[in-house]
Amino acid sequence: MLTLRYKAETPIPVEVEGLTPSAVRTMPLAEIERFEIFHGNRKRPLAEFFDVSGDPSDARLEFEGSLSGVHWIGAQMSEGEVHIRGDAGRHVGSEMTGGTIHVHGNASDWVGGEMHGGLIHVHGHAGHLVGSAYRGSRLGMTGGTILVDGSVGNEVGLTLRRGLVAIGGNCGDFVGANMIAGTVLVFGESGNRPAAGMRRGTVGLLGGHPPALLVTFRKTCVCKPPVLRLALAHLQSLNFLVPDDCWDADYGVYNGDRVTVGRGEILVRES
């Protein structure tokens, strides 16, 4: 396990893309200390901002400290484990293809932006655009799993193409907007305009007090979707807390968004 203890105090963003378990796995410590990261628009050696110790060969990185000003942690990683013992900045696990990231604190915006595989678990809150596409992209997240125990901001799963996103707390507006496929489950309350522009896929609003849905969603039935129980069991196996009252509840099924192909669904817990 390689430990990286954050020791800097700077209002200027520190960006560590490229610093993945695979990248440093076979590097001697001295070389890791010289690893170039960005401080604003300047390239600086890692050791200027982190005390580095331990052994990277097991592809496990432990970040310690208050890293809300450190961004792109775990971006593009393909294997291994990253633990952040503290808060984390933006773009945690952006475009990752494999491996696991745990944030034992809060994370900022863009958790798992355009992710392709692997698992991210934020044990606190996260910001906007969890599991979402970057601006202009035709597709967003294409695989993997994002779990956030707390609450999040707007645009969760924007243009989601495949994958599973679960939010233990509340979410903001536009959850699942422009979704192409995949699943977003929100266990708390949701903001406005859920699933606007959805083509296919599933948004689950399991909090019990849903917002008004867009008029382009049509209620089709009330049922207990079997696939939802499978999803909840899967989440539980990943140590995500699933409230007891979700398992056997009745769910209204709303098809939409009929401004597009409209073969998606919003599941709204009714009991």
Partner: protein, 553 residues
Amino acid sequence: MSSGFFKVAGGTVYDPVHGINGERRDIWIRDGKIVDAPPAPDVRPDKTIDASGLVVMPGGVDMHCHIAGPKVNSARKMRPEDKRKAEKVVRTAGTRSGTMGSVPSTFATGYKYAGMGYTTAFDAAIPPLAARHVHEEFEDTPCIDKGFFVLMGNNHFVMQSIQRKEPERLRSFIAWLLGAAKGYTPKIVNPGGVEVWKQLPSGNVHGLDENVEHFGVTARQIIEQVARAVEELRLPHSVHLHCNNLGMPGNWRTTLETMKTFGDSRGHLSHIQFHSYGGGDADETTFNSKAKELVEYVDAHPNLTVDVGQVLFGETTTMTADGPLGYYLSNAFKSKWFSSDTEMESGCGIAPIEYKNTSLVHSLQWAIGLEWYLLAKDPWRVVMSTDHPNGGSFLAYPQIIQLLMDRTYRHDMLKQVHPAVLERSTLGDLTREYSLYEICIITRSGPARILGLPNKGHLGPGADADITIYTPNDDKTKMFEMPRAVIKSGVLIVDQGEIREPLTGKLLYVAPEYDRGIESDVADWFEKYYSIRFRNYQVPLEYLHGAEEIPTT
């Protein structure tokens, strides 16, 4: 004591204007111009580049690209994902940062053109309302000399003058407008079609003789009369035309009719590849090449010139003043779309697309561009372009050069495209290989001559000292991608791939004479219809930074 001379010594020189085909020669430069060798043999140059064994050509001239103006900027803004994934242009001590992708930012555009040995580029389509902004952008597009063509084919005053049968009024207006914008020649895009698009849902013009509502004019009239006015004004470059029906199966008939419409007037038809399609009734399954028929006509009519508009496979962004075309493309490719109406003057459409070699249509488009180069008898009248970025990036020019010079490379690529290309075009039978001399013609000497630029595209005394030096390489893509050195206005601006001195470059414009009486007419028209005041519209010469007037002939 400084002699003031700069010498490019002993290079293998190509200068088709003077019939020089790979001869070992020296080139002497002074005060930014190419000059005769000093008569006294003991005069030493202050600086010498030893070009022995290296290929020396005039700097490249791109006569049709889209690098500035409102549609280019809207395209830049709507492709963040394209830019995110692209090469990063990082700031250095002497150069500014920028972004790439299919629509590079201003500074990056200048550096990349220069890096490839191009020293002059003309933006093909600027609405005069946006001219002032274009001049600002050009100021930020370093290393190359620039100019632009002024959109007029859907201009209300132009159409009104034609409707009123007042050719003198039309001619004066065109001259006034060119001077107001500091542009280079009238550009006509889908004449009448863009106006109909602005008036009617999914509106367009589908033939030369369809009536444009309210103005009561036809595309044929617009083309004939603007072309004639340009001849009467003796502008250095002819009218520059994007024909009706771009991209439609069967459009070759419109193109042929349009070519006939010019009569004896000079005419330049842009991105002719997109206008060379057989087939019918908007049915893509009948799509085939009519390049051969059109090439024959152009060969037989020396008043006509074309640039090809080569398509290359991959993603790019289409941007065109042809508003309805932008709508069509965004529907065909199911991509995001921008459309705009420039009051009184024009419109535009922007849509990202991807050309795929598995597509029959795209493969044929690729083949038809190459057919034009390979079938044309007169390389002086068939100019290389990709209609950047519509067919592909200007950065792909070296690859086109290799496709033309290396038959094996071309046939290897042909094997990887849609097999129907072999039946529906003649490309499979064409064995011609371009020589360096001919490449020099289609990339510099020809376009300079067509543009009427007396000091570009050649290496004789009096020419601007815009010179590119290449290291010979059998891999022509590599050879033309990375010149050994680029000299602009007598200054070494690129050396082994690095920008040494990013000078600003000049703006080239025309200022034809006209009857000043037109101005009160135009001022009234502004007062009635424009949202901008007449006195704010014109770009005064003092506003420009480094400009050169190209005289009428």
